[in-house]
Symmetry: C2
Subunit: 549 residues, 2 copies
């Protein structure tokens, strides 16, 4: 049998170094051209073959079949999955978990790295699954659903491995006592916390689940993955690969289990409060996140919930590129990223730019015009916007039209069968907090007139503290103003992007460098990935006895 | 001004290395003879001078005075303390906390190390305070209340410093993009979680509070210390020193505040649920620990609660030394340590020893006789037992007498004015779980007849899983039996001591080596000290912007 830890040792070493350095690094190339030719076409065929059939993760499983995924681009997927009862899932996790807990850290780490490698090889197929469940356009589904998600998973492996490695396996404890010494042999055992429950979301089923899945696995916990009913397939394919590797390495594949459910009979609450579950990771609504934080106590609970992301436009030396940058951030995946901005604070009296003074109205229409330009080509528009994952988002756009003065209206793309919408941009006054300070998920954004830049920063950071925020941006040519703003954003626990133009956007969060969600405001208590994300997933138990003389 | 970080850099380096190696290491000598001559006498005088007066931590404070500590060795202390309102405490913590959060990691760490050094120099005085609040005998009050507590605090500083140090201050992120690159300057800000609340206990006010106090401080959180009403003075003296150092270094001394209360008007619940409090550390009853875990949600909550510690006597090659070792563990500080054993499982059919077979009865009476021998000298008895901290413990001993057959009765020592009790040892059957599987805090222990060694291990590990346990011990000459037992104890999350005889006891938990409380069973969710104890006390916020070309 191949020693998987040795086989992947260099990858792990690089990942640990990258996680520590937090400069740019990626293990898995984001460019599809870096992958074998023909992979995309093969994946399309493989995806077509999956449609309309049960996806079996275990032989002889006769649990009832569930699954009603419908592509935001049109057709129902027709894939179904075995839905086991909570008791069955837990019993299998406990049984499989005993052997997994007894595996060495190196064994578990090697297996996790092997799974990541095979997931990478399956990136095109997983991208198809992500595209046709989330509505992400193809290029994003590949990058975010494939290599970027795998990098986030690898990052969690690196952190967890490093934290566990800091616990010595065995030491001689020798305490001087007068002329002699007391000598004890001590063995330190890394033990898992309990079953890990990972609750996936509908928009980034792999990117947001892999960190928890891999952190739990490497630290010795059996894992139950409860996907969103609208995005089961990407995680089912993920677990099919994980179970294959586990089986090949002699472990019970039920170390990882899929727990699909239906909107009519949800099981997340029952799972999250089962006494055998020790860790819950959740990405999704503040409502359910809040329920978990209230009810899943005595467990480690990691959440990424919702927030109101803001931009403050104070001044700029690149008005056009700024508007283009903001336009792209608002448009990308139709504003369905947890990192997408929703509020753009602009001084009511306008701003200074390299091309002279621009009024509030000129800033608002400048952003609107940049959105129009970005989406003027139908093919590019489709590639940027993707589709709307949830029909409720279209209804939300309709309702939002009355919340302010429409600067740019939302419209559907002319794409047959797909559910699409371009960004809605509204102008409101700073006092209209009821309009713009609620999270309005989807392509809905507000240009908000504030007294001045300082007022904008004060409102942006207060919103982050009170409503939560995952990203924030600031445009300013005044270094003193930036320096004053930085500590306010830091106190509000929201990462800040300053003066972004060109090919980098506030929405983007890079594995191994950006700490995604700070855990320091209501947008979530978890951070991808820091030591706190992994350190509590295992515990240390010491066995000590007198050392032989 | 002295650079405190530089001044203490070698100490920190050694502590970090020790925390990683987890062999024997101590920064602060436990032997009183290692301290300046006359220190003990001076401390007695200083302590006498404190009695009967208010202890002022701030000038001009006119908050009402509280405090009714009574020495378990006799007299009331007569020391009083300013009791501020919760709102006042929080407002001051927020004000002082802003400046503290803005201090550099090195500044905060240097100050924490300086405080620890001065606490060490004050060990004799703090020992007086510990002795006359907890009832610990003088030698233990010095060691556990002084250098051992300081080592635990230093350990937390080392862990917190190391975790924070892993976050780079600033990096250049350079992502290759075609022929050019996207370049971002990223600054990573370590930000505190929120105000830290440390709730002290009556038996080890410094040892159990210092890890949280120092972990909170170093990670940038202002700290409110709410001592047990029966043991305020040790923490008041601690904070007096901490506030002195903070002031000298130009910080608002309210970075650390004392929040004394009374049994009639307790404030812990109000403090723990105040929105500004981000971290709660608690040592004490399972009842209040459970309340905190239920109600202080959305905060980091670290608890050390209660459990039932067990010993399994399967066989031994050193019957006398084993009995002596157990006798000492039962007697030390009158069984009032969270690490003291309560249950001794012995096969009903007896055990094999180097001196042949010993019946169940012979094992029980062997331990009883060893207790008698240990406590036969009045001076030694007083030095081992100390006094009973809480009158309720005496009542508990009375009630316990009817729970089984008395093998050895508890009795008071003949010490004028002191509240004392020697260990009560009862024999019961394994079925009498209601008797021996409830925590009965104090010098109360049960010898429990089990079917055989395996039955004992099964019961001991089940008790740990279900009731919680902080320590466990096993005596066995059968290596295969030990090897089978180890994974069961590891799964139960309880550290195991095997075949201890001589000068090392199951009660002892050494800083930098033993992980005190695993966090993996109901005895507590915290561990002193692992990465999980410190990593969530701070968060990381990134500020990124395009790098200059």
């Amino acid at each position: 049998m191949v020693d998987l830890f040795a086989a992947h040792a260099r990858l792990l070493e690089s990942a640990v170094a990258a996680a520590r350095g937090r400069g740019f690094w990626a293990a898995f190339p984001e460019n599809p051209k870096a992958y074998p030719e023909g992979g995309a076409a093969e994946a399309k065929a493989a995806f077509a073959a999956l449609r309309g059939h049960p996806l079996e993760l275990a032989t002889g499983d006769d649990a009832p079949l569930v699954g009603a995924e419908v592509s935001p681009f049109g057709a129902a997927l027709g894939v179904t999955y075995r839905a086991r009862t909570v008791d069955d899932l837990i019993a299998r996790a406990e049984k499989a978990g005993a052997g997994w807990a007894a595996a060495s850290i190196a064994q578990r780490t090697g297996i996790a790295l092997e799974i990541l490698g095979r997931l990478n090889a399956a990136s095109f197929l997983i991208a198809e699954a992500v595209e046709h469940t989330t509505g992400q356009a193809g290029p994003m589904a590949f990058q975010a659903g494939g290599p970027h998600a795998q990098d986030r998973g690898l990052e969690a492996v690196a952190y967890a491995y490093e934290e566990m490695s800091r616990v010595p396996g065995a030491v001689l404890w020798e305490k001087p006592q007068g002329r002699s010494a007391i000598r004890l042999d001590k063995d330190f055992h890394v033990v898992p916390r309990g079953i890990g429950l990972v609750i996936g979301c509908a928009t980034f089923p792999t990117w947001n689940s892999y960190p928890a899945l891999f952190a739990d696995l490497v630290t010795g916990n059996a894992v139950i993955v409860k996907p969103h009913p609208a995005a089961i397939l990407p995680l089912a394919l993920t677990l099919r690969i994980a179970r294959e590797v586990l089986s090949e390495e002699g472990f019970d594949p039920d170390v990882v289990q899929l727990a699909p459910d239906t909107p009519e009979a949800p099981i997340a609450k029952e799972l999250a409060t089962h006494p055998a579950v020790g860790i819950v990771d959740f990405t999704g609504s503040s409502e359910f996140g809040g329920w978990l934080r209230e009810n899943a106590k005595d467990r480690l609970v990691f959440t990424e919930e919702a927030g109101v992301n803001t931009i403050v436009v104070a001044s700029t030396a690149a008005f056009g590129p700024m508007c283009q940058n903001i336009a792209f951030s608002l448009s990308l995946y139709s504003g369905q990223m947890c990192t997408a901005p929703q509020v753009i604070f602009v001084p009511a009296g306008g701003i200074e730019t390299e091309a002279g003074h621009k009024s509030f109205e000129e800033v608002a229409t400048g952003i609107a015009a940049a959105i129009d330009a970005l989406l003027s080509e139908p093919a590019r528009a489709a590639a940027v916007l993707g589709a709307i994952q949830n029909p409720a988002t279209l209804a939300r756009i309709d309702q939002a039209r009355s919340l302010g003065r429409i600067v740019r209206d939302s419209a559907a793309l002319k794409v047959e069968g797909a559910r699409t919408a371009t960004p809605l941009l509204l102008a409101v006054d700073a006092a209209d907090e009821a309009a713009y300070l609620e999270e309005r998920f989807g392509p809905i954004a507000f240009v908000v007139a504030v007294a001045d830049a300082a007022d904008g920063v004060a409102r942006a950071t207060r919103a982050a503290r009170e409503k939560g925020a995952i990203t924030a941006a600031l445009y300013s040519t005044d270094e003193a103003e930036i320096a004053r703003a930085v500590p306010a954003y830091a106190r509000a626990g929201v990462p800040l992007s300053v003066n972004l133009t060109g090919g980098i956007y506030v929405n983007q969060s890079a594995a191994f460098s950006d700490y995604h969600v700070s855990g320091a405001n209501p947008a979530g208590n978890a951070c991808l990935t820091d030591a706190a994300f992994v350190a509590g997933r295992f515990r240390v138990v010491c066995v000590r006895r007198p050392a032989a003389a």
